[in-house]
Symmetry: C2
């Protein structure tokens, strides 16, 4: 089965979760789940896994330090997408029987989790009974975060007709096909930019998500979750250095940039004043359904055809 | 490397975690991590993974429903060990390429998580590029819980010289070696018993953990964490039906019973009045170090030699 079919099954089966469990503010289908603690204070929760041979070329082709960095950074990108601050991480690792660098891997995970103020507080390790290229090193990282104290948790729902659609940073070229390295291993989770947007826009920051499966597919998801139509302009897309074709930028899988909407009259600067990261208006939300990207010749392309079909609920 | 060596490396490296991150009340080395939210309210966090070929015989030898049940029940046993109430779960799944039952597996996970009032709020799925017996189905389940409102989070530290040592239920025989089935797949996380103990004993419930690697090894861990010596009596161990040798009961890997200490004059009934589960005094904590089990002939055995060397921090 396609992973998107499994996701659709899960989202349908969990749509009424908040009725039976009122402390579940947001369940599957958002970048993070939102769960209310006993006092009503909300926490953000996210799990993301990194599998050798899928998300990175097996060690030692990919250095341990970059494997660990990406494993921690991916769920932190989702915490950023919800406007949150990370608090703690847990790692479940499955290691091939012949993997000899477990302490070094733990040290690298520990280093990067501390770097982003998200200390490793627990974990679980299993040694697979197999070795070699068919044994997959897997790191499942769960992160707990706190929402922005004033804005509260940001979700994919909330974009409104009339909103401007923005993206941070630049798009495309995250993977160097020759080496398997590249920005997909070294991206910076947009935690500072998300916090600045929450501080600055408050309730006017209507909806946000991170781009992990391609701008096209992810923008279509945000539009669908919010119940609006989104019209994006190919000519406006901020292309990464070396990228000349907008389609490559819109279909790249692992940008880990923020996609968000705010009222069209909210004056945003071209860069985040705290970090210098680009902020680019790439389109508009209107009444209707679907998401299109208009190419420079005026042809409209269905955005959801551009990107990866991976699973994560 | 042995998994216990990796655990020792991790515990040493994270011992000072609370100094740099004061919101980390308890990190690696306890059944659950304890993290304070913004308001100071504590949450319990635990990740546990279930790997085919290690923790259960591969599907279809083990029915999907029992795989899902065990995947959810294991981290809930740790929430019970900390005296907590489960609130939400996340699942990261890696599936062999030829696994055809993903929706049914999700439905079973969803059923059992709701059964224990711990709804699935998020997850991540990866399809491995390999099939067959070398492709391992893995389920990493993270659970968030709330500590007992009056007792607060229970940890392994806290046992005192003079305490009586207790265990719930009966020990041994969790795995039927002929079929691979047995109580290791169908055990009941001792959530109700833990809550009753917290309600009844309050601050006098000094230390608690769950038995997942064998009574011997786990009792030695509790004694070491608390800085006491524990002297257990083989003749007092509550043996499961069909178990005649105390060593088998003390070395069985997957009892998922509670091991706890309280003052010797705390009068506990022989059964939990809410559930009927046995409560048995099996020994005493004294000043000193180490943990022994005295066999019926008077010989003292080093408890830490009885059990499994698996990893989980």
């Amino acid at each position: 089965m396609r992973e998107s079919d499994l996701l659709a099954h899960i989202e349908l089966a969990t749509r009424e979760l908040g009725t039976a469990f009122p402390h579940v503010v947001a369940g599957p289908g958002h970048d993070c789940a939102v769960v209310a603690a006993g006092s009503g204070e909300c926490t953000l929760l996210k799990v993301d896994q990194l599998v050798s041979g899928i998300h990175f070329r097996p060690y030692p082709d990919t250095p341990l330090d970059l494997i660990a960095r990406k494993a921690i950074a991916r769920p932190l990108s989702d915490i950023a997408a919800c406007g949150g601050t990370p608090r703690a991480a847990l790692v479940a690792a499955t290691l091939p029987a012949d993997f000899r660098a477990a302490p070094e891997l733990f040290d690298a995970l520990s280093k990067w989790s501390r770097h982003w103020s998200c200390p490793l507080v627990g974990g679980d390790t299993a040694i697979l009974p197999v070795s070699g290229s068919r044994a997959h090193l897997t790191l499942a990282v769960t992160v707990l975060g706190l929402p922005h104290p004033a804005r509260g948790p940001l979700l994919r729902v909330g974009a409104r007709a009339g909103d401007a659609v923005y993206v941070t940073g630049s798009l495309g070229g995250s993977l160097d096909p020759a080496t398997g390295l590249g920005r997909h291993l070294t991206f910076e989770p947009r935690l500072d930019e998300a916090r600045w947007l929450c501080d600055t826009l408050g309730e006017h920051l209507h909806a946000m998500m991170d781009i992990s499966d391609g701008l096209g597919r992810d923008a279509a998801r945000l539009a669908a979750a919010s119940g609006v139509r989104m019209a994006l302009e190919a000519a406006r897309l901020p292309l990464s250095a070396g990228i000349t074709q907008w389609r490559r930028a819109a279909a790249d899988g692992e940008d880990y940039e923020l996609l968000f909407t705010a009222p069209a009259d909210a004056a945003l600067p071209p860069q985040c004043p705290r970090t210098g990261t680009l902020i680019t208006r790439i389109g508009t939300a209107t009444q209707g359904r679907g998401c299109t990207i208009r190419d420079p010749s005026g042809i409209e392309v269905n955005a959801s055809d551009l990107g990866w079909d991976s699973a994560g609920a």
